[in-house]
């Protein structure tokens, strides 16, 4: 989290990923810039989650490689925190919110070690940051969907990473939770963090994010939102699928870019 050594947090080179010989990501070449809030958008099945998983080493790569701060991904992953798409864990597991958040510290533990008081302190602070401290002792299946999402965010915070990969953190949360998450993301960015966020709500992309990656099997466009988040690129990404496209295009034309950071 310290003011980072200048460098590229994540480089993706010639990346191709296939499930059962069917490519779902094709020849992706990217350099995510440091200290930016980056949206990944694309239709369902575009390969957004797969890209995140490929960076985390959770799916086999058909070709290409990933570098994290210039190092091979295996060595660099300790500085990356990952918030999976919800529903990837067993919610009936006998554990409470604080325990789940504490798991974010396990990467810092020695081989046979247990979390210490300091780790618990960090976990509690993270819960507090997402406004979930009062639910610390609640069994996780007894939390609402938005609360579960916040617990996962808190878990990523305890990792004290420099890069955050988040798969749809805004899915199924109410407006106030969404605002709280956005504030949190902006705080992390102010502290020098780099955040890559899979996002479905096109309307809020210009408002929340600095950069955007338009993805559909290949990279359609990647760059600062003001430059690449155009109706034309969206059309290329979503094809004819998206009825609201015209509406988004309309809004884009009316966006006052200078006010965006406010």
């Amino acid at each position: 989290m310290s003011p980072a050594v200048p460098g590229v947090p994540i480089e993706v080179h010639d990346l191709t990923v296939a499930y059962h010989h069917r490519p779902v990501l094709w020849d992706i070449d990217l350099q995510f810039p440091e200290g930016k809030l980056i949206a990944v958008v694309g239709p369902n099945g575009a390969g957004k989650s797969t890209l995140i998983k490929a960076i985390m080493g959770l799916v086999p790569l058909a070709s290409g490689h990933v570098k994290i701060y210039g190092k091979p991904a295996e060595e660099g992953r300790a500085s990356v925190a990952y918030v999976p798409q919800r529903g990837s864990v067993d919610w009936d597991f006998p554990t409470n919110a604080l325990d789940v958040v504490l798991m974010g510290r396990y990467g810092h533990l020695p081989l046979f070690g247990r979390p210490r008081r300091r780790d618990k302190e960090i976990a509690r602070q993270s819960l507090e940051k997402v406004g979930m401290l009062e639910f610390a002792n609640r069994q996780i299946s007894q939390l609402s969907g938005g609360q579960q999402q916040r617990v996962f965010l808190a878990r990523a915070l305890t990792q004290q990473a420099r890069v955050y990969l988040m798969d749809e953190p805004f899915a199924g949360v109410d407006a106030s939770t969404e605002r709280a998450i956005v504030t949190l993301l902006h705080d992390l960015r102010e502290q020098g963090g780099t955040l890559v966020v899979v996002h479905h709500d096109l309307q809020t992309v210009p408002q929340y994010f600095d950069h955007v990656l338009l993805l559909n099997l290949r990279t359609v466009a990647f760059g600062p939102v003001a430059e690449v988040f155009t109706a034309q690129n969206l059309q290329k990404t979503y094809g004819g699928q998206l009825g609201v496209l015209t509406e988004v295009g309309e809004r884009l034309r009316n966006t006052d870019w200078s006010r965006r950071r406010g």
């Binding site: 985390m56 080493g57 990952y82 597991f93 006998p94 396990y106 533990l109 046979f112 069994q139 990792q159």
Partner: protein, 316 residues
């Protein structure tokens, strides 16, 4: 009724009596099994315990053929190897053969068990291996096979074996606690944090195999499979805390050993069968009366919801 009362009078748990040793061995099996069984249950691999307990048969026979004795160590090694092979093959079939997990477990263990049966029938003339004893080891005989050191009687061998296994499992559990937990709850996170998920999976399988075969010999297959899974499931219904789940599983297992012995004496029936029955009954009790998942508490909760909907929605 008179007969029953009389039989209960004969039951004695004084140290050194047969009753004491049988219940002690049963309790040690329960503890050893619970220490590894809880994570099996949490990872939805209950049937893998069953599978391993059958699939180790060829391992036992081969170990027996090579060592020519019924020493416990070669048997544990042989069975351990086969247990790992089961876990490995199951994995392989699920991942690359596109079989559902339960199907690959079924295919693997029937295949290995069948090979074991062939081995036993082929070599049964040459080696003195009693299939009954391997498969249906009887806890009733546990007190008679004692361990002797320089002529001193140290008590039943199976108590020592199971005591050692229980301690080994406890050590594994305590040392690996954090890793086992994160692997079971969220293996993607575990991998992302740099935990060797595959290694911990096979370590757990190795300990399950070792426990199974050690307990096999002393108490028989029914009791092992029962103790591995049933008390852990009972505890799962009773608590939301992971450590408490382990403690309750041990407790349920020990109660089953004790209650089973009493039941068997009363009915003059199979002790292992009675212990397994009692553990099943305890599960039933938990399923009905359990505080959170129990059928009864759910009913009550729903009735309360119906009568006072406003009060409950506030707490959410």
């Amino acid at each position: 009724m008179n007969g029953w009362a009389q039989r209960f009078d004969e039951v004695s748990f004084a140290p050194g009596t047969d009753g004491f040793w049988i219940v002690l061995v049963g309790a040690l099996v329960a503890a050893a099994c619970s220490f590894v069984g809880c994570f099996l249950v949490l990872r939805r691999m209950s049937m893998l315990g069953d599978a391993i307990s059958h699939a180790v048969l060829p391992g036992i026979v081969l170990a027996f053929l090579f060592s020519g004795s019924r020493e416990i160590l070669p048997m544990i090694l042989g069975a351990g190897a086969l247990g790992l092979l089961t876990a490995f093959t199951t994995d392989l079939l699920t991942r690359h053969g596109k079989l559902p997990n339960d199907a690959s477990i079924g295919v693997t263990f029937t295949f290995l068990f069948a090979i074991g049966v062939i081995l036993v029938s082929r070599f049964t003339g040459q080696v003195d291996l009693d299939l009954d004893c391997v498969l249906y080891g009887e806890i009733l005989y546990a007190p008679f096979d004692t361990l002797k050191l320089n002529g001193a009687d140290l008590g039943p061998r199976s108590a020592w074996v199971m005591g050692t296994v229980a301690l080994a499992n406890l050590a594994f559990l305590l040392l690996g606690w954090s890793r086992l937990k994160v692997c079971a709850f969220d293996s993607a996170l575990a991998a992302a944090l740099g935990v060797n998920v595959v290694l911990w999976h096979y370590l757990l399988m190795a300990f399950v195999s070792m426990t199974t075969v050690a307990a096999f010999e002393s108490v028989g297959v029914i009791l092992v499979v029962g103790m591995l899974i049933v008390p852990a499931n009972t505890a799962y219904l009773l608590t939301d805390r992971l450590w408490l789940m382990h403690a309750l599983a041990v407790l349920a297992g020990v109660l089953s050993a004790l209650g089973g012995y009493l039941l068997a004496t009363a009915l003059n029936g199979s002790i292992a069968g009675a212990m397994a029955t009692v553990s099943g009954l305890l599960y039933l009790l938990a399923a009905v009366f359990g505080p959170r998942h129990g059928v009864l508490s759910k009913q009550i909760h729903q009735r309360r919801l119906r009568t006072a909907p406003a009060a409950d929605s506030v707490s959410g």
